[in-house]
């Protein structure tokens, strides 16, 4: 009877092997992210001289990136915050209505929100360009805020709808019996209870707007308004020899999302298990 002994002896080793294999997968899949961070720290990260490890780290790339792209970062921040605010303000009551009111045709609204995902961004940009031109929203921050908010609204609506549906009906009824109107019941009961869902949806809206490239590319014709994604793209046209500032810009472009994710982490963890992914 050596079999039980053998398996107990082998099990931890197999576990360790699996961990090592998982780390190898991680290393391969995260290599581009590593390479970006690595090159951003090497001031001479030109064509051939990039070292495998940043043994002599230098912040020259970051200094250059901030002086050339700092303004674009601010532009992106303003646009993403604006788009997130609009998206959340519009999608939250809509999600509540879809989850809680027996409105005729709400199934169609949900279907339409899903179907919007099928429309290629280029189709929207193509049609918006002419319209934006005539209403003077081309090359403007409000124009990009409005366009970017449309990236978040359908997604946020569907995501928050499942949270709103999860609110125990007793507390909403209690609020109504206490004399609260529908709007007060929504603002004072539903919104606080569905907080995790709202924060998760807002974070996604921010990510969508922050990483938007197509609207930034098509709905601007001058350098008056340049979000960071467009700034990186323009780098490619101008200089492909000096990679360290380009990579530094790319790293900086990840910072707001990373900070937000860390800050909102506990809400999202609760949010994702709370009904987002089923």
């Amino acid at each position: 009877m050596t079999a039980p002994l053998a398996t107990t002896a082998r099990r931890p080793r197999r576990g360790v092997l699996a961990t090592l294999f998982a780390l190898l997968i991680l290393a391969v899949l995260l290599f581009p992210v590593y390479w970006m961070a690595n090159a951003s720290l090497q001031s001479n990260a030109t064509s051939f001289s990039t070292e495998w490890f940043p043994l002599h780290p230098s912040l020259t790339g970051y200094r250059q990136a901030l002086s050339q792209q700092g303004g674009h970062l601010v532009t992106s921040l303003v646009i993403a915050v604006g788009a997130t605010a609009i998206s959340t303000l519009i999608a939250t009551p809509a999600a509540f209505a879809l989850a809680r009111f027996k409105l005729p045709g709400r199934g169609w609204v949900i279907f339409v929100a899903l179907a919007t995902q099928m429309i290629p961004g280029i189709v929207i940009a193509n049609a918006l360009y002419g319209t934006y031109n005539s209403v003077h929203l081309i090359n403007s921050v409000p124009g990009l805020i409005l366009a970017d908010a449309s990236l978040g609204i359908p997604f946020s609506m569907l995501l928050m709808r499942s949270f709103m549906a999860g609110i125990p009906k007793e507390i909403l009824e209690a609020a109504r019996i206490d004399g609260a109107g529908q709007i007060r019941a929504f603002l004072q009961v539903a919104v606080p209870v569905a907080r995790n869902g709202i924060i998760t949806a807002a974070l996604f809206s921010f990510l969508f707007a922050w990483s938007d490239f197509l609207f930034a590319l098509t709905l601007t014709t001058t350098n008056a308004v340049t979000p960071i994604t467009l700034g990186i793209y323009q780098y490619l046209g101008a200089q492909t020899e000096q990679w360290s500032p380009v990579m530094a810009t790319a790293v900086i472009a990840c910072v707001p999302s990373a900070l937000l994710l860390v800050a909102a982490q506990r809400f999202i963890a609760a949010g994702v298990t709370g009904g987002a992914v089923k």
Binding site: P32, I90, R100, P120, V123, I124, I153, C254
Partner: protein, 331 residues
């Protein structure tokens, strides 16, 4: 590719209004207050409906109209474009390159879908096993989601450079690939493969996350029963995991197709569609027609073709899938 899972659950319809409905009287006064209540309820939804009408409905309709117009740069200023019938569509089909764009789009999309689904499923199965640090490592695999697509595409463009790219340096170190390195971005033979590889890299974490959560939904006792019956791992995969995973597979593949077929940013950054249209897809061509050559009518027509392709795939796949599955998926 999407970076997020769509909430696909269909919730039981909420019943907040039910209590009010039960007490519903038939007096005119009650009816009036009910009408007011209903009006307020529509107000909750109205801004979102308006927004979707303005930023999805209107552009789609306008795009269809534009595709039948001679919509040029001067139309932007005069606001009028002469009706052109099928001229735009005819120009697209007879350019001699349309077939190439269709083939490129098909290869890019289907190769991306197949490889990222296979890798995503393999990773999901692997991470379903219990081993130390499985959770944290799986979470770290999602790190690329924090990098804006343009930024990661830029890194890839550099990594794939023939002389200065790290991919060729690695290939050289392990003695793979031709002398002088693979001309990833500059040869017509490799450019499409290059953008497809980048797109696969973007899509793998998405596939893994959704498939992993799908695997978690499969009841453990089904596997236990199979293990008692002495069923091997491959048979379990084929006859338990695969059929039970079908609804999730449908979501991943249909969403994956819809998102992949409209990819523009990766291709524009990595190859720009070149060299010599080698990596030009329908979506990129639609962008180039409108915003590089200012033939907005033709760009619109190309965009409409793109929508039709998406729609067709979704319908065909769902129909095909329904005839295969005994239980109906809920997408």
């Amino acid at each position: 590719m999407p970076r997020t899972a769509w909430p696909t659950s269909s919730d039981p319809s909420a019943a907040a209004g039910r209590a009010a409905d039960n007490e519903r009287g038939r007096t005119p006064r009650n009816r009036a207050s009910r009408a007011r209540e209903r009006a307020v309820q529509w107000l909750f939804l109205a801004p979102a409906l308006l927004y979707m009408a303005l930023f999805f409905g209107y552009p789609m309709v306008k795009n269809v109209v534009m595709s039948f117009q001679n919509y040029s740069i001067s139309s932007l200023y005069t606001g009028s474009a002469p009706f052109a019938g099928l001229v735009n569509y005819r120009a697209i089909f007879s350019s001699g390159l349309f077939g190439k764009f269709v083939v490129n789009t098909a290869i890019f999309t289907l190769a991306s879908l197949a490889v990222q689904f296979a890798l995503g499923l393999a990773l999901a199965l692997f991470f379903s096993r219990r081993f130390p640090l499985a959770g944290p490592i799986r979470a770290l695999l999602l790190l690329p989601w924090l990098v804006p697509m343009v930024a990661s595409a830029t890194v890839w463009r550099w990594m794939l450079g023939q002389d200065d790219g790290v991919v060729n340096r690695i290939l050289e170190a392990v003695h793979l690939g031709p002398a002088g390195g693979v001309p990833w971005l500059s040869s017509t033979g490799a450019a499409l493969a290059a953008v497809t590889i980048v797109n696969i890299w973007v899509g793998v974490p998405f596939n893994m996350v959704i498939l992993y959560s799908g695997l978690r939904e499969i009841p453990v006792d089904v596997y236990e029963a199979a293990a008692i019956d002495g069923v091997g791992p491959l048979t379990r995969l084929r006859y338990i995991t695969w059929p039970l995973l079908r609804p999730v597979t449908t979501v991943v593949l249909v969403l994956g197709f819809i998102y992949t077929v409209k990819v523009i940013d990766i291709i524009l950054v990595v190859t720009g569609g070149g060299p010599a249209y080698a990596s030009q897809t329908l979506a990129v061509e639609s962008y180039q027609l409108s915003f590089k050559t200012f033939l907005f009518g033709q760009g619109a027509a190309m965009g409409n073709i793109l929508i039709l392709v998406s729609l067709l795939f979704a319908l065909v796949y769902l129909r095909f899938n329904r005839s295969l599955a005994s239980s109906d998926g809920d997408l």
